[in-house]
């Protein structure tokens, strides 16, 4: 029983990471039709930003408010980089989706290489707060606290995004833009401002995922973002490409399947079963879980 609880909570923690990355991806894809390969680089930047802040920024550190400040700094850096990427590199290629994807591919290579050039390819120990390393007893299982941090953050982000989309004017524009972008433009609303916003939001979530992933894994390395990105892509496709709730459901599914299969079968089988799950979903429901039946 305690194993099942531990696996479930760990799977949900992993799902939280996937969701943080995938939510930005699916918002961007839904609104702009761009599959953002640079998302993994945003994640890496967020992780290294937090790590750098903990070492160098006065007031930031690995415990208490210092940790919050460090994460806030990492998220801010990720947000700014994402917004700049949208403004300088994506916007000039407006409506040219393949080129936009190619630019993000180039960026994903270049940005990760830059991080590697500056801080080296070796993993760096990540400054996690002490309480995240302790465990809490849940139904007889001692669960590391960082899982709760991950799950809590993801739930907060999910609720905040849903509220933002439902109750604000910008959210309305984004929802309408996902539904039918040309109609929104025809009504005289500048969708491009929403593009920048969505990109910045996605960058912020990815950076947060990078910082939390550092806590979860205990160390950070430049290639981390790319390996997480592939699973986030799978989550996005299973979730139906442009739906936030779909991404959340798919993230939970993928995280749990991966954890349980990795434990009960063999290490690596979990990753394989996730791909199998993707093939299965695509063959039975080609539009993903949330696709409407036309």
């Amino acid at each position: 029983m305690s194993t099942v609880v531990l696996l479930t909570v760990t799977g949900l923690g992993l799902a939280a990471l996937y969701f943080l990355v995938a939510s930005g991806l699916s918002l961007i894809f839904g609104l702009m039709g761009v599959l953002n390969f640079a998302h993994g680089a945003f994640l890496t930047i967020g992780a290294y930003g937090t790590w750098w802040a903990a070492e160098n920024l006065p007031g930031a550190g690995s415990g208490g408010w210092g940790f919050v400040l460090g994460v806030a700094f990492g998220v801010a850096v990720g947000t700014v980089v994402a917004a700049l990427v949208e403004l300088l590199l994506i916007r000039p290629l407006y409506e040219r989706h393949i080129e936009q994807v190619l630019v993000t591919v180039g960026l994903s290579l270049a940005l990760v290489a830059l991080v590697r050039a500056i801080w080296g390819a070796d993993p760096r120990p990540f400054p996690a707060p002490a309480w995240a390393e302790e465990t809490t007893s849940v139904l007889g299982a001692s669960v590391p606290n960082d899982r709760f941090l991950l799950i809590g953050s993801a739930v907060v982000v999910l609720l905040a995004v849903l509220a933002f989309l439902r109750y604000t004017r910008f959210g309305l524009v984004i929802r309408a833009g996902v539904e039918n972008r040309s109609m929104v433009t025809a009504l005289g609303i500048d969708v491009r401002r929403a593009f920048t916003l969505v990109f910045a939001l996605g960058g912020a979530f990815a950076a947060l995922a990078g910082a939390l992933g550092g806590v979860y894994l205990g160390s950070i390395s430049p290639g981390q973002g790319t390996s997480l990105l592939i699973f986030a892509f799978i989550v996005v496709v299973i979730g139906g490409m442009s739906s936030i709730t779909g991404a959340a459901v798919a993230a939970v599914l993928v995280g749990l399947v991966q954890q349980f299969a990795n434990y009960y079968a063999a290490s690596g089988v979990g990753d394989l079963s996730v791909v199998l799950l993707l093939a299965l979903v695509l063959l039975t429901r080609p539009g993903g879980l949330t696709a409407r039946v036309a």
Partner: protein
């Protein structure tokens, strides 16, 4: 006159490349040693192999419009299967190549059979995910077969003597050249065939092909398998050239590298893709040497740090090409030619085939119509 010249150009290039190992020309700056030194020949052979592999990827991306992110799987499959056959099973080279050919057909057939049921971005994602399985399997080192992160060294006792040893690098060079020539001829032949016309039609407008009464699925499956097979054979040449298989060839970054090569040279152009592959491989190797050279090490940190990562430079170059040289090198040449011929640049040159290297521009029209999951239908908001 110029038409005849363009027809003959590949042949001339082939002859020049074939006799190149007899030259002792010193090209300071470009290569470290004289042209026929083993080091230079090894680098040139590597460039030629990747020229061929890039062309096989162009067959998918440039000629048919299938943006696969899993091409690394077939290349890596080629090197690992051939390596296992030679090293573990102790087979001869001929048998190993035969086995690789079988795998090189069956593997893309299975993957393509599933992946091609969806189109657009979803297709890219499925190929990416399946290729990731290959990467995971190789890294987990099942039964100590693949060597995990270390890679798998080739046992050369079953390789013909002509391909073993530093002095025989020249034979490997010719092997790589032969591989490239075969790929080029095959691609030239199939893209000119009736199936090739259908592929290009699928790239431009898949729905129209359906309306004309053809089923795109088998055509796409055939080109997927052919490109996979050519890549797998490239993997065998790569294996002989480097004397081992490395897990780096299984990663998504490897496929992204192929994509960069093709776009750099010009998607939808045969010589463009080859040139892109050659250029990328050459730059990757030379920039790595440059990074460790004294000239760079003495630079101030803000210059030295970015220069020490070839991928940073190549990635940035790629972004610049996408922005300022749409159509890559082949597109640039086509535009210059149009200008010289007195036509206004950018105007379509007429005829059924699009100007080489302009494929990306055409693909984007397809993409903007929203190919992929949920195309045409209303998409869910929240």
């Amino acid at each position: 006159m110029s038409r005849k010249l363009t027809r003959l150009a590949p042949l001339v290039v082939l002859v020049v490349l074939a006799v190149l190992p007899f030259s002792t020309l010193q090209l300071p700056g470009l290569f470290d040693g004289v042209l026929n030194s083993p080091g230079t020949l090894q680098l040139l052979a590597l460039c030629l192999v990747f020229g061929g592999v890039a062309l096989s990827y162009d067959l998918l991306f440039g000629f048919t419009g299938l943006l696969s992110f899993g091409h690394a799987l077939y290349f890596a499959g080629g090197t690992y299967v051939a390596n296992l056959a030679l090293t573990e099973l102790g087979w001869g080279l001929g048998a190993a190549v035969a086995l690789t050919t079988v795998v090189g057909v069956v593997l893309p057939l299975l993957v393509g059979g599933v992946a091609l049921r969806v189109s657009g971005i979803a297709f890219s994602m499925v190929t990416l995910a399946i290729a990731q399985v290959g990467s995971i399997v190789v890294l987990r080192d099942p039964g100590g077969l693949t060597g995990g992160e270390e890679g798998l060294a080739l046992d050369r006792s079953n390789v013909p003597d002509a391909f073993v040893g530093v002095l025989n690098t020249v034979n490997l060079y010719w092997l790589a050249l032969a591989y490239l020539a075969v790929v080029y001829v095959v691609v030239a032949w199939v893209t000119g065939s009736r199936a090739g016309r259908v592929w290009q039609a699928i790239r431009e407008n898949e729905r129209r092909v359906e309306v004309l009464g053809l089923r795109p699925y088998p055509f796409k499956l055939v080109v997927f398998v052919l490109a996979g097979l050519l890549a797998a054979l490239g993997g065998v040449v790569h294996l002989l050239l480097l004397g081992g298989s490395t897990p780096r060839t299984t990663t998504a970054d490897f496929t992204l590298g192929l994509l960069v090569m093709v776009v750099l040279g010009g998607a939808g152009s045969r010589w463009g893709a080859v040139l892109g592959g050659v250029l990328y491989t050459y730059l990757d190797s030379r920039l790595t040497d440059l990074a460790s050279s004294a000239a760079v090490q003495d630079l101030p940190a803000w210059l030295r740090v970015p220069l020490s990562e070839p991928l940073f430079l190549l990635g940035s170059l790629f972004v610049l090409v996408v922005f300022f040289v749409p159509g890559g090198i082949a597109g640039l040449v086509a535009r210059l030619r149009e200008r010289r011929a007195g036509r206004r640049p950018g105007r379509p040159s007429g005829g059924a085939t699009p100007p080489p290297g302009r494929v990306v521009e055409q693909l984007r029209e397809t993409a903007s119509r929203g190919v992929g999951v949920g195309a045409g239908g209303p998409r869910d908001g929240v």
